[in-house]
């Protein structure tokens, strides 16, 4: 299966070619080059999946390619390679498919933009890094590609580098995730210090004695292994925009909309979920406390983001908070999951990741289609668009139904599994998840009714339907959003790579459909036509509504902590010390040197004979010393 290497090599070479020749390539050629090679990569990824899942009976971990990249000592070496197991093969399919759709869509969306070739080269870099991340054979390779996706995300958010908000958002995204990655790195080092390996196959082996040994060493009430895993999860939480490291994701919407669809909805932000899933046996066997933390953070973010999403007015920000909320579902499902036959949550999480990629990418592409037509983001200035953009309307409705969890759309099946897993674990988590499901349905249909129904607005020019090249990817993703739920996912992806037979839990399915319908109905009453009901409701919840509009003041809290506390209490004293102690010492030596040279520079008179006198006196002095010391 060495052709798997080609899946990575194609986007990388496109990045190099487009990046180096960015000034000289015609736009169409560069775009088709990127899209074409992504198409080949997609075909190869599907072929890999076919060979992996259907040509062999057991789903073992396969390593078709591996080289030793750095060899420090006999025991410490860092490999680069490709690891195929059910989750990485599933991720390969998701990433290449969504990438291909987004590449195609971008050909239309970005047409005529100034940095078109640069855009495609960065997009290819992202695809390469993300693919490298999911097939990583060891933690260190994963960490490198993890940073690479961070860089490409930074580059793409800051694509419009002459827009100050985009630059600020890019920096914010990079710094916040970098801060989280610091914890990740410490976690990796801690883990590998005790186990002596970076390799996933060894670390995740339940019989690994070194990993089990880490549970015996206790630090501040928790075992070292638990600390290492919590630190690793911190990296995952940063990338996946989990509370309280979520602040970068809403701002990241400054990037072009296809970028948001690919990076900030379907692929990169689920890297944290993937990371936890990759390390799942370690979490599950040795550190249940860390898994509890994952579940708690997931559940909290799930509800928190859903509440904020109900109050936002920027179409892309609503989708961003919705993404956070859905990733919260995935984390929650992982957190409540057991291993082996108890592993419903694991399968549900991966299933939701899979279906979410389709409908969330579709929602973003739909939003992009609307923004492309109107050139504005505020949903209060939109309305009655179903007349102007019929195709976008249909696919957007499909995506909304899918995310709200209405059967038979994809989101229904995965959400049902998550709710079942949560119910089996803890009724509180089930309550949170069900409440968030109602809120999800409400905010998505609030968006839908406000944009596609409601009153006709006055537009600068009549909105038009998007070109075919943008509609095709949306239709393909819509088909995915309808049918992806029928895949018997448990047969392919499970925590112990043995088929897990899942079945629809009818009671929970009825509850989840009921709450979703409730959310949709409320949205329908409030927003189908212009009405004052929503204002009355927001007035009832005055303080809560205001706090949610302001995203619960988390950004302000961060600013307070950094500007007031860290700057004043840590940075300023350090700056004072630097200025008055370290710099002062350097200044002192410079002043002394200056003074001495000023005093003795008269000796350099320019008079040759003065020098000769001094020289001769010196020689005589040496001679005298030699004479008198020898005798």
């Amino acid at each position: 299966m060495s052709y798997v290497l080609l899946i990575l090599a194609l986007p990388l070479s496109v990045f190099v070619v487009n990046g180096l020749l960015s000034g000289n390539l015609p736009h169409r050629l560069a775009g088709w080059l990127a899209t074409g090679s992504m198409g080949i990569a997609t075909v190869l990824a599907w072929l890999t999946a076919y060979n992996y899942f259907f040509q062999s009976s057991s789903y073992e971990k396969i390593i078709p390619f591996r080289i030793t990249w750095l060899r420090f000592t006999e025991t410490l070496q860092i490999d680069m390679g490709i690891l195929l197991d059910p989750i990485s093969v599933m991720m390969l399919v998701v990433i290449t498919t969504i990438s291909l759709m987004v590449f195609l869509y971008s050909m239309g969306y970005m047409q005529g933009e100034k940095g078109f070739v640069r855009y495609f080269s960065f997009l290819s870099l992202f695809s390469f890094s993300m693919l490298g991340l999911v097939v990583a054979t060891n933690l260190f390779q994963l960490y490198m590609f993890w940073e690479l996706v961070g860089v490409s995300s930074y580059l793409l958010i800051g694509y419009c580098y002459d827009k100050p908000e985009a630059v600020a958002a890019a920096k914010k995204a990079f710094i916040v995730t970098r801060f989280a990655d610091f914890g990740f790195l410490v976690g990796i080092l801690l883990l590998s210090y005790y186990t002596g390996t970076f390799d996933f196959t060894e670390i995740t082996n339940p019989e690994n004695a070194a990993v089990a040994g880490m549970t015996g060493i206790s630090f501040m009430g928790l075992s070292v292994l638990t600390w290492a895993l919590i630190l690793i999860f911190m990296g995952g939480a940063g990338k996946s925009a989990m509370f309280p490291l979520h602040i970068w994701l809403p701002d990241a919407m400054e990037g072009p909309t296809p970028v948001s669809a690919l990076i900030h909805a379907a692929t990169m932000v689920v890297a944290g979920v993937f990371l936890v899933a990759r390390m799942f046996p370690v979490f599950s066997f040795h550190a249940p406390e860390a898994l509890d933390a994952v579940a708690f953070i997931g559940a909290f973010t799930l509800l928190f983001a859903a509440i904020i999403a109900c109050t936002q007015t920027d179409i892309k920000r609503i989708l961003a908070f919705s993404t956070m909320s859905q990733i919260g579902y995935m984390m929650l499902a992982l957190g409540v999951s057991g291993y082996g036959s108890e592993g419903l949550g694991f399968t549900a999480s991966m299933f939701h990741l899979f279906t979410h990629a389709f409908f969330k990418a579709l929602l973003f592409l739909g939003a992009g289609s609307i923004i492309h037509a109107l050139h504005k983001n505020d949903i209060r200035e939109m309305g009655n668009l179903r007349k102007h953009q019929p195709v976008t309307h249909i696919v957007f409705l499909i995506a909304c139904l899918a995310i709200a969890g209405i059967p038979p759309f994809a989101g229904f099946f995965s959400k049902d599994e998550i709710l079942s897993a949560a119910f089996a674990s803890n009724p509180i988590y089930f309550g949170v998840a069900a409440l968030a499901a109602a809120l999800t349905a409400f905010y998505m249909f609030r968006l839908y009714f406000l944009v596609f129904w409601n009153n006709e607005r006055t537009y600068e020019h009549t909105p038009h339907e998007s070109p075919v090249i943008m509609l095709i990817p949306m239709i393909v993703l819509a088909i995915g959003s309808v049918f992806a739920g029928f895949i018997p996912f448990g047969n392919f992806v499970s925590s112990d790579n043995q088929p897990l037979h899942t079945h629809l839990n009818v009671t929970i399915a009825i509850i989840s459909v009921m709450v979703a319908l409730l959310g949709i109905t409320v949205a329908w009453i409030f927003y189908k036509k212009e009405s004052s009901l929503s204002e009355q409701l927001s007035n009832t919840f005055g303080a809560l509504y205001h706090a949610a509009v302001q995203k619960f003041f988390i950004d302000e809290l961060y600013l307070f902590i950094t500007k007031k506390i860290i700057f004043n209490l840590i940075s300023r004293p350090i700056a004072w010390f630097d200025k008055h102690i370290i710099d002062a010492f350097m200044d002192f030596t410079a002043t002394v040197t200056n003074w001495v040279s000023k005093e003795i520079k008269g000796l350099q008179s320019g008079q040759l004979q003065h020098y000769a006198y001094i020289f001769l006196s010196g020689v005589l002095l040496i001679v005298l010393v030699m004479i008198f010391t020898n005798t």
């Binding site: 350099q604 008179s605 320019g606 008079q607 004979q609 000769a612 006198y613």
Partner: protein, 105 residues
């Protein structure tokens, strides 16, 4: 015949020559005269090499070679020095060493 002259005599002559040269180098203002002082010093050293070779290591000839090298280098040095003097004279119409004091702080 040389053997009849004690080495101390010869050394006194060369020391005298050397210090005459040094005195001339340090006190004369005229660069050409200073150059003559340098030549005197060099030649005093030359004689010293030859004498020490002859009296201390009569079976070796390194001292002679040193003397020959110094003569060659002194010739080159004189050529360069005089070239500098000529250029100096062209620039400042003087070869007085005290007027050549551009190279100071």
């Amino acid at each position: 015949m040389m053997e009849h002259v004690p080495i101390a005599h010869v050394l006194m002559v060369t020391s005298t020559m050397f210090f005459i040269g040094a005195y001339g180098f340090l006190t004369r203002r005229n660069l050409v005269t200073m150059l003559i002082g340098v030549e005197l010093m060099l030649n005093a050293v030359n004689i010293n090499f030859v004498i020490f070779d002859r009296y201390v290591y009569p079976d070796q000839i390194e001292g002679h070679f040193f003397a020959l090298f110094i003569i060659a280098i002194a010739a080159a040095e004189a050529a360069v020095a005089i070239a500098i003097f000529i250029n100096l004279y062209r620039n400042i119409r003087s070869i007085d060493v005290e007027e050549v004091d551009k190279m100071k702080y």
